[in-house]
Amino acid sequence: MQASRARLFKEYKEVQREKSADPDIQLVCDDSNIFKWTALIKGPSETPFEGGVFQLAFSVPEQYPLQPPQVRFLTKIFHPNVHFKTGEICLDILKNAWSPAWTLQSVCRAIIALMAHPEPDSPLNCDSGNLLRSGDVRGYQSMARMYTRLAAMPKKG
């Protein structure tokens, strides 16, 4: 309990210190609860998510960093490894390949990498996975871009 708090506080200071270091990630800690974080990540370029800003919700367990944080998308996203309704993310480093050397910041980076490189063979969103698996890359990209426009971009006008 005390160890996780100390570690999160360290990460908080680190985030404050190099706020401009990674322009694609903006990590914010909840004002009253250091175990709750939100992050805004930019969709990687040359993907259907380009131009979108996605919101992530972190829920950090008390055993952190011995156990991974729970992360989910708050913004709707059409991606084979993200549950379309709940925003749950299927990523090995958030489950069985977790290591205490990961930080919230590096988890965000891993999620950005996952957005650019989907794994259609372990899908949480079967429709998206099937499109990719059947080779319909154009169909997948247009669907993903549509949802990015609908949910992850500021409304115009």
């Binding site: 160890a3 570690r7 360290k10 990460e11 680190e14 069985n96 290591s99 205490p100």
Partner: protein
Amino acid sequence: MSKRVLCKFFAHGACLKGEHCEYSHDWNDPPNLICTFYQKGVCAYGSRCRYDHVKVSRPQSSTASSSITEQRPPVSDDVVFGNTGITSNGVAAAPEFSPSRSPSLIPSTPGWNQEQQYHEFVGEDDVGQSRIISPAEIPICSFAAAGNCPRGETCPHIHGDLCRTCGKHCLHPFRPEERAEHIKSCENKQKHLEALKQSQEIECSVCLERVLSKPTAAERKFGLLSECDHPFCISCIRNWRSSNPTLGMDVNSTLRACPICRKLSYFVIPSVIWYSTQEEKMEIVDSYKAKLKSIDCKHFDFGDGNCPFGTSCFYKHAYRDGRLEEVVLRHLGAADGDTVIAKDIRLSDFLASMHLQ
């Protein structure tokens, strides 16, 4: 009166007043075990106080007062009270007492008189010259050896040669073994200090703190992994390796692996300093293993128990008579021509498997 109470400084083996002490230096006399603060009302130590919390004015109420009265049966309670009355302010009263009682103990001039000392030294030196002893037997000036001799050039004693590592004049010019020994130990010390200095900056990747800046001494240790060179606190890496494998984590590929490079290490070596070369790491690992090898294995239990680690156990496997365990490995020829090393075969294993069928 207080002569009948054992002096507590004497009891610890160091009473500066010697025979002038107003307390007894006779082991047969009882010590004063009554808390003086409690007598006055409040003792800050409360129940943790090492002295007895009893009111001595109440007759025969405690072990301390009764033990005193036992030894001196004719003395009544008010004497006991008076006794402790003196000891209760004995600490404060002592400086007033001692000059009058033992004037010889407080010299009017300080004993560490420069001039007097100088004459002594000169006198010694003269004797040394007249007897002609070998220069190796003359001790070197201890002031110079400690760093600085106030007399400098005029010092009658030999000033040792400068040790380059510690910067003190502590090398005896005529004792070669002593010199070599000092230089060696000094260099080792210096190396250790350097390593410690370099280790200060190193951070643990689990708690993200500097390992040697942790609050408790037990935490200020590195945990070295045998197969890679990533630094962690001993507590962090042990916690991670012993944490429960949840969410389908594989013990070998996740928990036993380095959190950074995922290289599998089977054991962690505690160390106060971080190494800079592989030789230093080997030295740390070897000394750790040697230390464990001198401790009896609790699983082996002098031959009564059974150690699950067998021949690869780091601890000592010795029987009660000091004989070391001899391991005879059973080599079995497998069908494909390879040889395998068989584990211990036990009757209980067969019985257990039969029971299942």
